[in-house]
């Protein structure tokens, strides 16, 4: 009996502790959460891009990829040279290739031209589906409309706005996402998770302003040595499915820091070979889009304005080659 009483006492004390912890935690979160950050998340940018692809008449050119195309394409120039509306659907590689392809699929129409420019990382390891936060977001929301780099505020905001199934997931969200948000708020972080909506142009490209200095350090990411065949199959299926609907699907390699390429040449060549063997129409080689550090912005995939111009010219050349001179290259 005494033992049972002791156990009950401990259980009650633990429950009390949990309640106090949970209350403090939630209070801290709602006190410290800066709703302004919402505008700096990927979510509003994503909604804008979806609205863009939905409302642009066909035929159109759609670039699908991660941040390498957000930071490395002049869609306006491509549009002027080709005479077709161009939409840059890129956001971040971390969304995963599956997400990128799935999100454009419902909006593709006959005679559209889809140019897929994923990052190399989508073809190795387990990056097909992005990372866990995205999966969590998809699970919670029933779709994939949430970005992931800084998910907690966006998810909470969205759920509060939409009055969705918050109760069932609040614990999961709290455990997985809130600590990061609180930590950031408490320690007053100034780094922006994404760019504000105003920084995207009407095609979906990010415009770097003059006052945004090139970053001193170029972020690099490890690349796993094992090719993810599921990614390549997913891409091949997407491509063949489009073919039946009279939608042209082309594959182009991403912009990449030359130094990084030299170090990881073997795996990149293996990736290129695997994509080629899958029967996907490739219109470039990895070497077409390699850049010196002087053309990079802040990561191995991000170009600065100068790099963007060089890359856009090359993209036009490659598109031109493919369409048998129907798209004139920039003089």
């Amino acid at each position: 009996m005494v033992i049972f009483k002791n156990a009950a006492t401990m259980l009650i004390k633990l429950l009390l502790l949990s309640t106090v912890v949970a209350t403090t935690y939630l209070l801290l979160f709602f006190y410290s959460y800066d709703y302004e950050k919402y505008n700096y998340s990927y979510y509003p940018a994503l909604l804008n891009k979806i609205s863009l692809i939905e409302n642009t008449p066909s035929p159109k050119i759609i670039f699908v990829g991660g941040s390498n195309i957000v930071y490395g394409l002049d869609s306006d120039l491509i549009s002027r040279k080709t005479g077709l509306p161009v939409i840059n659907m890129g956001l971040t590689a971390a969304l995963g290739l599956k997400f990128m392809l799935d999100q454009v699929k419902p909006y593709l129409k006959r005679n559209d031209l889809v140019v897929i420019v994923p990052e190399y990382h989508h073809f190795v390891g387990n990056f097909l589906c992005g990372n866990n936060e995205l999966l969590l977001a998809s699970e919670i929301l029933g779709d994939y409309s949430m970005a992931l780099t800084h998910p907690a505020p966006e998810i909470i905001y969205y759920l509060l706005e939409q009055n969705k199934r918050i109760q069932g997931y609040i614990f999961t969200i709290a455990i997985k996402c809130l600590p990061k948000a609180i930590e950031k708020s408490l320690l007053v972080i100034t780094d922006n998770p994404s760019s504000p909506l105003t920084q995207y142009n009407s095609h979906g490209d990010i415009i770097l302003h003059d006052n945004e200095k090139k970053q001193k350090h170029i972020d690099s990411y490890p690349i796993d040595g094992k090719i993810n065949n599921a990614s390549i199959k997913y891409l091949a299926d997407f491509s063949s499915d489009n073919k039946t609907k009279n939608i042209t699907t082309l594959f182009m390699f991403p912009a990449l820091q030359k130094k990084y390429y030299m170090i990881h040449k073997d795996i990149i060549q293996k990736i290129a070979c695997a994509i080629k063997n899958a029967g996907i129409t490739i219109i470039s080689s990895p070497e077409d889009f390699l850049y010196d550090d002087g053309d990079m912005y802040d990561t191995i995939y991000h170009l600065d304005e100068k790099g963007k111009k060089i890359r856009t010219d090359m993209v036009l050349v490659k598109l031109n080659n493919f369409t048998h001179n129907s798209i004139p290259a920039r003089p």
């Binding site: 049972f4 502790l17 106090v20 912890v21 600590p179 930590e183 350090h217 990411y221 490890p222």
Partner: protein
């Protein structure tokens, strides 16, 4: 399911509640089912089969050996049991490596998936080997109850990463009737929480620095490589020590005391001392079942025999981690250093006298510093493998290039502040041992609940939670 996952923190209380309300005679069955259920969450059914087979073979061989007083048949059962356990480990763990080797040599195209996971296999195999040897040498009675034996092999808190327990130490505890003890449960929960703190607040934050450097070593020279190397040394310690704390906490919850695996290893004053403090259950296993038998059989060679036994033992230790060259070099280096120290030790006092070094705090600090740096140096191969490891060694003292330290802020300013605070406090605690006493008093005194509250809040606010991406390093072995 890893110890730092949400599912584990739902699993553990659920099992504990069921355990609490189950009568003593059925508790083994509950824990055994929970352990197999826990292992099943890795979604590799062959792992369950391997665990069961290893258990069944060890159990049978143990019983057969006990039934035979001595002679060749008894030895045969022992050899059979050991061969089966080792063969299982080799097949599961080293087959991809061997396959790759065969492909390189010949024209055969053997495809063995590297995706085979063998979490826990290395640990329960060692346990099986120690049990068989102890029974064979009559230093342990064989367990006759298959359920208890299976639980000894599979007990979930120690299944994935140890501690590697001896039968005579764990089996009696599994059979002991359980009574709730407030103090014991409290200390179990504290151990669990401290372990979680070490993992999510410290280890997973230091990881960010080690990864920035070691995932792209060729981009760095000089100071960043030094920082990355130290970061990995801290990462592996806190990662593994946190797992052990959590394993011991979970074990204690069920009234079972698992052995301590770490004893401030980075305060060791020699490599031999380091191995008495680091991964103690594994070092003890190596000492008892490999080093001592080797040393005994080579005793005629004198010091050379001891040195050779040390080198072989540590090479096996490296291979046990993985068959890749980095681990073998790591083990080989430890073996070589230890072998060299057997020659150096008899002259140590004279050498100290020659340099005017007197026994005292200063000498201890110097020895600790040297030992830590030797250990950190060997970790380079453990983390980076042979090729990258050699690059690091060649460039770690190359300060010619511009040393850009902005990578320190890559994982974020708060990350840096949190770690700096933690390590500063740990440093102060190392210099002023009374600080640790005050902390202990705080956790036992009147304001203990306030301390618990702060500890949990620190974990929730400053912990890094990335779900399944945050495996424990030793979960890979």
């Amino acid at each position: 399911m890893t110890f730092n996952s949400l599912s584990y923190f739902l699993f553990l209380p659920a099992i504990y509640l069921a355990f609490y309300f189950t009568p003593d005679r059925w508790r083994w069955l509950l824990l055994l089912s929970a352990s197999y259920g826990f292992y099943a969450t890795f979604k590799a059914p062959y792992l369950l089969a391997v665990l069961f087979l290893t258990t069944a073979i060890s159990y049978l061989c143990g019983l057969r050996m006990a039934a035979l007083p001595s002679g060749i048949r008894r030895k045969l059962w022992y050899v059979n049991g050991v061969t089966a356990a080792v063969a299982t480990l080799v097949l599961l763990k080293y087959l991809p490596f061997l396959g790759a080797g065969v492909n390189k040599i010949g024209t055969l195209n053997i495809t063995i998936s590297n995706a085979i996971i063998f979490t826990g296999v290395s640990f329960f195999t060692l346990q099986s080997l120690s049990y068989l040897t102890d029974v064979y040498l009559n230093s342990e009675e064989p367990e006759r109850h298959f359920g208890y034996f299976a639980l000894y092999m599979a007990f979930f808190p120690k299944l994935l990463q140890g501690p590697i327990e001896r039968g005579r130490e764990l089996l009696p505890q599994l059979k002991k009737p359980y009574t709730f003890d407030y103090g014991n449960t409290r200390s179990a929960l504290l151990l669990l929480t401290c372990g979680l703190f070490k993992k999510v607040v410290v280890a997973d934050r230091v990881t960010l620095y080690a990864d920035v450097i070691y995932n792209n070593v060729h981009a760095y020279t000089g100071l960043p490589l030094i920082i990355g190397t130290y970061a990995f040394a801290l990462q592996i310690y806190y990662d593994f020590a946190s797992y052990t704390d959590m394993a011991r906490g979970a074990g204690r919850l069920f009234g079972i005391d698992l052995m301590e695996n770490f004893n401030k290893p980075y305060r060791a004053t020699s490599l031999a001392d380091f191995w008495r403090r680091w991964h103690i259950s594994f070092s003890r296993w190596l000492r008892d079942y490999l080093f001592i038998p080797l040393q005994m059989s080579w005793r005629d060679w004198g010091q050379a025999g001891t040195a050779a036994a040390l080198i072989i033992t540590f090479l096996v230790s490296g291979i046990w981690h993985d068959a890749s060259s980095g681990f073998i070099i790591w083990g080989g280096l430890h073996g070589t250093f230890l072998a060299a120290s057997t020659y150096y030790r008899p002259h140590q006092k004279r050498i100290h006298a020659l340099f005017g070094l007197k026994k005292g705090q200063l000498l201890t600090c110097w020895q600790t510093f040297v030992t830590f740096n030797i250990v950190a140096l060997t970790w380079i191969f453990f983390r980076a493998g042979l090729t990258d490891g050699l690059y690091v060694l060649r460039n770690i003292f190359n300060f010619n290039g511009a040393t850009d330290l902005c990578f320190i802020l890559l994982p974020g300013k708060p990350n840096f502040i949190i770690l700096l605070t933690f390590f500063t406090l740990s440093g102060i605690a190392a210099i002023l041992p009374q600080l640790s006493v005050y902390v202990k008093i705080a956790f036992d005194g009147r304001f203990r609940w306030l301390c618990y509250y702060l500890l949990v809040m620190l974990i929730l606010v400053y912990g890094v939670f990335l779900g399944s991406k945050q495996m424990f390093i030793y979960g890979n072995f």
